[in-house]
């Protein structure tokens, strides 16, 4: 492969070239090279900050009316200029097509008004501290109004899609690869690579083999057992980094369930040896935690640690005895192959619960079955879930989302937090409310946090690539060394 081509191996093919219609992180990881957002997320510091992208600056006084100034030197891949009309179009199209997966992306936006070709006004539906979150990431890629409307149909447009990103669409061979070419007219300068190839290699061992033989430069999701071999080879390196995901047990609290008794739930929490899980099951590529959002997420609660002190099997046994729950059957449902070592983690948890005298059982389900059961609330007493791809801890609060995951858990204080957070006068107070929410939920053991997993990539030694917290793979982030 020519040294000016960057080849990336993902675990699955992109679902769509339509940025508003995939709801899939790894698809977005590819599409960020093609489309731009108004703003950018920057996770390089302590916590998330927003940086300019196609919007150079923004202002709001009331968190209702927002004014964005746009770059005036941006061209679409077909050469036409990018303007505020395109932003308005993108927002309205997404809102207007109910079949799009990201149709709810801009749900808080009431209207978008073009003030001038390079200035747009966005009016939200009441105070919205999180507007910037919705303008970047999955579903927020900007589309050209003129070209889209000129195309015969949506499908026709996405046969040869147009964005403003550093790379232009060349071809998508379904289930095989997406090929992108450098956009020599890119507003950010000359792209570093002449061509980007994103390959779909679902089988992990094949992905690793392809990476080792130099067939791809960057391979995502390297299994821990292959790390030693890759690190030992001077031609390859392993890159691991924190990501926006946490693994937690979601617990059923309704009357009649084995985990209805808070003592039992507390015992479960205490029974789990999180440091051991992190070290042996995922070979150290995760941080033990009781928390629900990793540090870089606004609203992260530093009190919910997962160190050795959280592990107290003796106390757990006492609690079980107190609750009279010795030998109670508790079923843990887990998906398989969805998150790194998900089944193995669940197996280990079951082992810990057996250690404290519960009759713990494991139910491993295929992902689609798992999802169907989740939606009809038919999973076991607990299930393993790895929520991810969030940018703010506030997604914990809305009842409408919570109902999908912990429908039987209610707490008067917690239920009031959603409104309180929305009305919080300052960001500081808002974050405090979010932390409180996590504390309440973890104390109730409605969710029992386990790990913050890391992403592990294989990266060719001739390339430097650090990996991103949001798991996007912008080719500009990879450089020849």
């Amino acid at each position: 492969q020519s040294s000016t081509t960057l080849t990336i191996a993902q675990g699955n093919d992109i679902l769509s070239l339509d940025p508003a219609d995939h709801a899939n992180n790894s698809t977005e990881a590819t599409l960020v090279n093609l489309y731009d957002y108004l703003v950018n997320k920057d996770f390089s510091g302590e916590t998330l900050v927003f940086t300019p992208n196609l919007a150079t600056s923004w202002t709001t006084e009331d968190q209702i009316r927002w004014i964005f100034d746009l770059r005036d030197d941006v061209k679409w891949h077909d050469g036409s200029p990018f303007t505020a009309e395109d932003v308005k179009f993108t927002i309205e199209r997404t809102q207007g097509d109910a079949k799009l997966r990201s149709t709810a992306r801009f749900r808080t936006i009431k209207e978008a008004n073009v003030l001038s070709p390079y200035q747009i006004e966005i009016i939200t539906d009441g105070r919205d501290a999180l507007l910037l979150h919705s303008l970047v990431g999955n579903g927020a890629g900007l589309l050209p109004k003129a070209a889209f409307e000129a195309a015969a149909s949506k499908e026709a447009f996405f046969e040869n899609p147009i964005g403003t990103g550093p790379y232009k669409f060349r071809e998508w061979r379904k289930a095989d690869r997406v090929v992108l070419d450098a956009n020599t007219d890119w507003w950010g300068g000359t792209p570093h690579w002449e061509q980007i190839v994103v390959r779909a290699i679902p089988e992990t061992s094949t992905r690793v083999a392809e990476f080792i033989t130099g067939g791809v430069d960057i391979a995502v999701n390297i299994p821990p057992e292959d790390i030693a071999r890759i690190a030992a080879d001077p031609a390859t390196q392993v890159v691991s980094f924190d990501i926006a995901r946490n693994i937690a047990l979601h617990v059923r609290v309704a009357e009649g369930s084995a985990t209805a008794n808070p003592l039992v739930r507390e015992a479960i929490d205490l029974a789990i040896n999180r440091p051991e899980l992190a070290e042996f099951v995922v070979e150290g590529f995760a941080a033990p935690t009781r928390g629900l959002f990793p540090p870089k997420i606004p609203g992260f609660n530093p009190d919910l640690t997962g160190d050795d002190s959280t592990f107290n099997p003796d106390r757990a046994r006492e609690l079980i005895a107190e609750a009279g729950a010795e030998g109670t059957t508790i079923t843990l449902s887990s998906p398989s192959g969805r998150y790194v070592k998900d089944r193995e983690i669940a197996e280990a948890v079951v082992g810990y619960l057996q250690d404290i005298g519960l009759d713990a059982r494991l139910e491993v389900l295929d992902w689609s079955v798992f999802n169907s059961r989740l939606n009809s609330f038919e999973l076991g007493d607990m299930y393993l879930w790895g929520m991810g791809s969030y940018t703010d801890a506030s997604i914990l609060l809305p009842r409408s989302i919570l109902n999908r995951f912990n429908n039987d858990w209610h707490d008067a204080t917690f239920d009031g937090l959603e409104a309180a957070a929305a009305a919080a006068p300052t960001e500081e107070e808002r974050l405090a409310i979010l932390r409180e929410g996590q504390q309440i939920m973890t104390d109730a053991r409605a969710r029992i946090g386990l790990l913050y997993p890391q992403a592990i990539y294989g990266v060719n030694a001739r390339i430097s690539f650090d990996g991103r917290f949001d798991e996007m793979i912008p080719a500009e982030g990879a450089r020849r060394v």
Binding site: L15, R173, A175, A209, E210, N371, G388, S389
Partner: protein, 305 residues
């Protein structure tokens, strides 16, 4: 004669397609609501309800089915939930890769199985014969993905002779074709051996030998052609199985065939894609059956269509 056969073919195809569509509809419907797989983690219940309504999934099953069939009759095969685009091209896109792999596997199988089967039959009950039979059982018993990964490790990683995965060139086809072809070759070799043995015991082979013509003429012209019919039957059954996609092999080699698509579609309950994929497979199956009948006719003049 051909016209009548074609007529019969169509008459056979319509009820099968109808039964297939009905079974698939019921099965997919039973797997539940596809929207759960479509929405992001931070979607609300209302978002989900809106999506359900947008796709018309809130309608009762029979209404969905009637609407589905009505659309088909108008040439609209539906939209993929997963890809958000028309389902037919999604399926047709995968066809070339599937056909190519099927063809490759077939070539590998025939190249291995026919000589092996013939030699085993000619050296009946000899060491060669036992070796062929033993190897056949072995290949049949080896899981596909194991063979595939081993081939990758040996020829891709270790020897670096062939590309590890992907598609696009002849070199890419070799390993997946071998992976699929060997299992098939095992079955086929046993069959070729058995039918050759049977044919070699026939009177007309004795007649051919009594003419004093060379052995190769007896074997290839007189015997092989007669032994070909069961071979063709099995080959066509195998092709049918492969047309549905060789999921495991496709996954191991990142081969963009139908198998992966169908499995993904099933996982995501992507009704339109499953329906069309199954339709396409059914039609190809029926076409293949038809071609097999034609092949019988070519091989054996006694068989009429």
């Amino acid at each position: 004669m051909i016209i009548r056969a074609l007529g019969r073919f169509v008459l056979q195809a319509i009820p099968v397609l109808y039964i297939v569509s009905l079974i698939v509809f019921v099965l997919v419907f039973l797997t539940g609501d596809p929207t759960a797989m479509m929405i992001p983690d931070d979607a609300t219940e209302a978002d989900r309800a809106a999506l359900i309504a947008a796709w018309g999934l809130d309608q009762p099953a029979h209404i969905q089915y009637v609407r589905y069939m009505a659309n088909i009759l108008q040439g609209d095969f539906g939209t993929s939930y997963r890809y958000g685009t028309s389902a037919l091209p999604i399926v047709l896109d995968r066809l070339p890769a599937t056909l190519l792999l099927t063809f490759g596997a077939l070539v590998v199988a025939l190249i291995i199985a026919i000589p092996a089967g013939i030699i085993a039959a000619l050296r009946h009950n000899s060491a060669v014969d036992y070796t062929v039979s033993g190897t056949a059982v072995l290949f049949k018993a080896m899981p596909n993905f194991w063979v595939g990964i081993m081939l990758i490790l040996i020829f891709g990683v270790w020897l670096r002779w062939l590309p590890v995965s992907g598609s696009g060139s002849f070199a890419h086809l070799i390993l997946p074709a071998i992976t699929l072809g060997t299992g098939f070759a095992a079955d086929l070799a046993k069959l070729v051996r058995a039918s050759m043995l049977e044919v070699l015991g026939q009177d007309y082979i004795r007649t051919a030998m009594s003419k004093g013509i060379p052995d190769r003429v007896v074997i290839f012209k007189h015997a092989l052609k007669n032994a070909a019919i069961p071979t063709v039957t099995m080959t066509s059954l195998h092709i049918i199985a492969l047309l549905g996609g060789a999921l495991v092999t496709e996954t191991v080699f990142s081969w963009p065939g139908l198998g992966q698509l169908i499995v993904q579609a099933i996982y995501t309950k992507d009704m339109a894609v499953i329906q069309i994929a199954v339709f396409v497979i059914t039609i190809m199956t029926l076409v293949l059956n038809f071609l097999t009948d034609l092949a019988y006719r070519l091989l054996d003049p006694r068989i009429r269509l």
